[in-house]
Symmetry: D2
Subunit: 401 residues, 4 copies
């Protein structure tokens, strides 16, 4: 296992770090100020376009993509420290065209898309011209077990007809969002893991209705938005099918590995930022005759935070290293581990930071509460902790069967 | 220690339970629908007035007040199960005129107010005609140590002049909020716990400016609102001083005991509701071939929830019993204990409920996320957990000195 | 729910407290000194007989027994504080003839024994002349599910023939131990909970062999001893059968309720003692320029200890109250709750005490390590935590079916 | 950071793994059987000599020593997987001459010893002919703050006179133990960290008395033994002083780094073994109609165990890598982190294994309870967790000062 970095990557780290300091952190407030107060999903903060342009010019663009034809050609190990850095700000990833769910969707199109799919959807996504969403989870079933998914994708002549209600189609609130990857059943009688397909559905197709957006602990996450979408007799060309009927699980597996590790990397960045905020604040405030930084309990929080960040980062690097060397499939247990560890680690650190800051911590004056709420969803997204732990345990038990 | 209830109290419990089922739970959504979408602090949902009227008619009004002259004449032990019931809904307490911070403020006025104070502020509060706020915490200091508070209340002839910036003056966002109790220093040279006073400041006094409201996670808690208030050369009659100069800490101690235990009782109610939601949902949903309710990990959550609720309720009853029999001061360690225990207990249960519900749990479709965010603030309000634990420990250590 | 005590009980509390201070704590070391160094199970420390005599003279004898014919006639609520006090010392319970497993076995004999059983075994047990053991758990099966138990108790004429290997027959190492209650299958074809019986087996019956004693974290618990016993073609009169064939589960249920709550009461006493040791020590020792008692982390341990002890005690009293008023069966969920809570609570406190004392804590110089090891077994004895939590959860879920 | 292994190291790993399987695990019981039942500290199990001879022949000897003149010449990163493997058995480390406290003492002699010290003590230790102990901790002070240490080492002509009582001089119970490194004050008026010295004291010097051995939970750890040693007017040649007067802290720092990381490596091995025992057992036992391995709670334990082992191992490797590349001093924060993490991680896993095994887990039939007790001391040895967390926190806070 080798986590050394080439000069090229070190150079990217330096450039990205400077970009964060100069352009990202100072504009977090600009972003919030530019958000429409009343119709929060009709437009998006214009600062984003300026920053994207700058990032593109500096070559800090699409770094997530391992394949060199379209992306930065970085390995997962190489991308890890960069992605972590982006994750320190909630507006970071989009600026570098490295935001979910677009990254996962672009990976799907690179791997499984036809030339037509690539021309029509991948290129505009890579250029940051449009955005995309992923319609998988459904309100009426326990989607943690994806075999429960009920939406239907039925062949009818040269078309497929899509029916179903999806929610948590994150990003679909944004006016720039043009395309959805929809998962649904095309054959309820096939083998359990061959029933589901994935298909491309342009959001302007008749029958697609965004019913509402869901909140996350009071945050509407505008303009991104977590949409509930009704697909009612939605007809798309048969060529929009990805990879072939019944191959939805196969795509999901390929898509989710990188998506999960990126979330973990960003989460580590968010944890580092929370720890930084905590450490600065407790050296400024005094209670009961000494600085908060001198209180034993707060020191314990800090020590545990540093330990847990280090451990999570190393495990994430190991998972990245395995993805790079033996492939996403072989790395699935390591990916499951960091999927569980990273959000829980970060939530505890952010919670301690909130506690150390007092009421300021839960407010809009610091990024802590928003970061906590966002990361809390990661214990559920792409499968709850419990499902991943079950998978890890079964893998472990197999060693002794 | 005797937690038996009289028939009168049992009767109140039954009536209140029915009221919750018939009038409160069915109108939680009405409340949200009636909230102004664009100017959320200019009005309040009219359903509240209808419900308050109904509660008053049924004698479910001001039950929190132990003194019989103004209130229901219930002991703390008697009020406990009622307050818990109200706490099952976020709109419950206000309907019964038992909401914070009004309850604490009314207690202050009952105990320490002059006849003039009572006529002018207590009676309209008891009637539910106006609301009030409590201006203590400041943005620039660690208010967990109240000796840090910097606002000034300086005598000038027949008046006091109030200067300072307060925040988390909860309730001041509401158009019905008319009066603030403000804490500040009148004599920086007095003994440490004699420097602070409390004074009544009508919110329409010149120099009082509500600068903004603070969010709790993503919730603005409209129309209630957690206000940042600037007090700039605010002049009030000298008779507005409560109890006398330098007696702020004395009032704070008297005020905070009941306030804290009420929060705990309501928090237990919120925990019960979360557990109920969890238990119902896991019996409806299936994953990996069995009901969620049959998954061992979820059963463990349920068992621990039941255990922790029971324990917290009993400790709260003990604290209530001590307040009733030996007084708030003697009960201070027990109050500190439940102040720490109740929010942490509830947060864990609600978090588990969210985890069991999946993404629905973090959304507006269930009360869980809002309840979590609200209760998270209780680990900070009236002093962070760490300050209370410190006090408990010092009390324990004293036994062996 | 009423936890008030009569003057009679208050008097017992005072007498018992004095007895502990005068006769028990000062003789803990005497007990250890008198233990045979080389053959630890051939005799027992003579100090025990002296102390038992004293306790009997003072009426501090058999207080555990609720029934007035044989015992002190105390309710469970009344016995709770007394049992807790005894539990502060590892040698306490035996001195007052309130030690496990004799108490449970005496309860079985009182409830389900014939006159012959009572004359022969109950009276000498009540007099403290002999001791007894309970042979249930087996090495070859998961005894947490008692239906797994494999020993056989087969009728043959006027006798029953017992075959099987039991272990953790605690107390059987003691030379005074004369009688075992053995659980085993008499009919493998009966309904699942009707297959098992319990029978009285004198330990001097041919075919009974004590193979060895088990250690608990290095402690042999001499002379008590946790014995592995082989029962090989052991023949006892048919009249030794308790209650009747197939009624083993019924007896187990009746036996385990009181046994469990007594363990909890004693465990609370052990936790109090650990907290006392911790509080004293941290006020004596200094590190890094201040007393350990002033270190924030240690204060947090102390506060949490006090909170958790209070909560556990109250829940134990509630369970006791329910056993007294609605019966052991109705109280089964509360008993399960304290069965889980008490040991975990105490283990954490003792562990913190060990940590605060440093290496002294794990040694023979303090009762902490021995107490920890002993209480660690209570998370397994009479069913592991997980089985009890499962039962609590199922009870909770039933409310919403 | 590069954790790749050379062929030489891979070869050692393979040989050592085979040795463990063939010679160590099968002889754990032999070792216990050969321990003298009555005078446990007068001799030692002869199997050890046979196994040591075999290990030496295979070149599995002194692998811990980084320096090539005396040792295997392995880096810390290279030694890590080997040390972990040895740690899977309590008798492993001694067989390979890699046991504490000898390893730490040998390091001290290599680094700071004179040629005379090396001839007289280092060579016999390297040959496995004698053993050694480290006399630092004292019963009367909080030794977690080493400046508290009170023993005196006073120059008198050509000699030093040592006075003081030490305890937890581990290994001094063994008849093979010939030499102690003793820490004590030579100058109470020097700067705080210049008061202490370390000196070599042969155990047969007049005035050295082993008063007793301390137990760890119920284990006496014979023949090793944790001795309380009285040093009364003990005179040794002045040349026995290590490095020079007042340089005790300097030596302690140099000694403790490697000692700590070795403990962590071994602890990871012990955790792996516990997890293996757990995984095997839960696939063999059935309760409530399914294998324990299928119970959700047990699966959660397994998953968390695997995750935590992975994380701890990676952090230990990082610390080892830093020791190898930037030196023990620069790696001190990482060493502190693993010093805290490894024992806590292992204790939880072993505790879960015990819980899964039931009462067997606390007994002598499995290595779990002994391993737990042993590792519990590591949260105290070389400074309690709390002291290390404090150091980590202060380091973190410095980044923002």
């Amino acid at each position: 296992m080798n986590f050394d970095y080439s000069d090229k990557v070190k150079d990217l780290q330096e450039k990205l770090g400077e970009f964060m300091d100069e352009h990202i952190f100072p504009h977090e407030q600009t972003y919030r100020d530019q958000l429409d107060k009343n119709d929060r999903f009709s437009s998006y903060p214009q600062i984003i376009d300026e920053l994207k342009q700058k990032a593109k010019e500096q070559g800090l663009w699409n770094l997530f993509l391992p394949e060199s034809e379209y992306g930065g050609g970085l390995t997962n190990v190489e991308y890890a420290p960069l992605c972590e850095m982006m994750g320190r700000s909630s507006i970071g990833p989009e600026v570098f065209n490295c935001a979910a769910p677009d990254t996962g969707n672009m990976e799907v199109l690179v791997r499984y898309g036809t030339e037509e799919h690539k021309d029509k959807w991948l290129l505009p996504l890579l250029n940051g011209e449009i955005r995309s969403c992923f319609s998988m989870t459904e309100p009426e079933v326990a989607s943690s077990d994806a075999t429960n998914i009920q939406a239907s994708i039925i062949r009818d002549g040269d078309e497929y007809v899509v029916n179903g209600t999806k929610w948590w189609s994150s990003g679909a609130g944004d006016p720039r969002c043009k395309i959805a990857i929809v998962m649904g059943k095309n054959d309820p009688n096939a083998a359990k893991h061959k029933q589901q397909s994935m298909i491309l559905v342009p959001l302007d197709t008749p029958g697609v209705t965004i019913k509402r957006t869901l909140n996350v602990f009071g945050y509407d996450h505008a303009p991104h938005g977590h949409a509930e979408i009704e697909y009612k007799d939605v007809r798309v060309p048969a060529s929009n099918m990805l990879l072939g009927e019944g191959r939805g699980f196969e795509i999901a597996q390929g898509r989710l590995g990188p998506g999960r590790i990126h979330h973990c990397m960003r989460t580590i960045g968010a944890a580092e930022r929370a720890l930084e905020i905590l450490c600065k604040r407790v050296q400024e405030r005094t209670a009961f005759g000494k600085k908060l930084a001198e209180q034993g309990v707060i020191q314990e929080w800090i020590a545990e935070a540093r330990i847990n960040i280090e451990q999570t980062r190393l495990l994430t690097l190991k998972a990245a290293y395995m993805m790079d060397t033996v492939g996403n499939k072989e790395a699935k247990t390591e990916i499951a581990m960091i999927k569980v560890v990273a959000p829980n680690m970060a939530l505890e650190i952010i919670d301690h930071a909130i506690q150390a800051l007092g009421a300021a911590g839960v407010s809009q004056d610091y990024p802590l509460a928003a970061s906590w709420a966002n990361i809390r969803t990661l214990r559920l997204a792409d499968g709850p902790d419990e499902v991943h732990k079950r998978a890890i345990a079964r893998q472990e038990l197999k060693k002794y069967q």
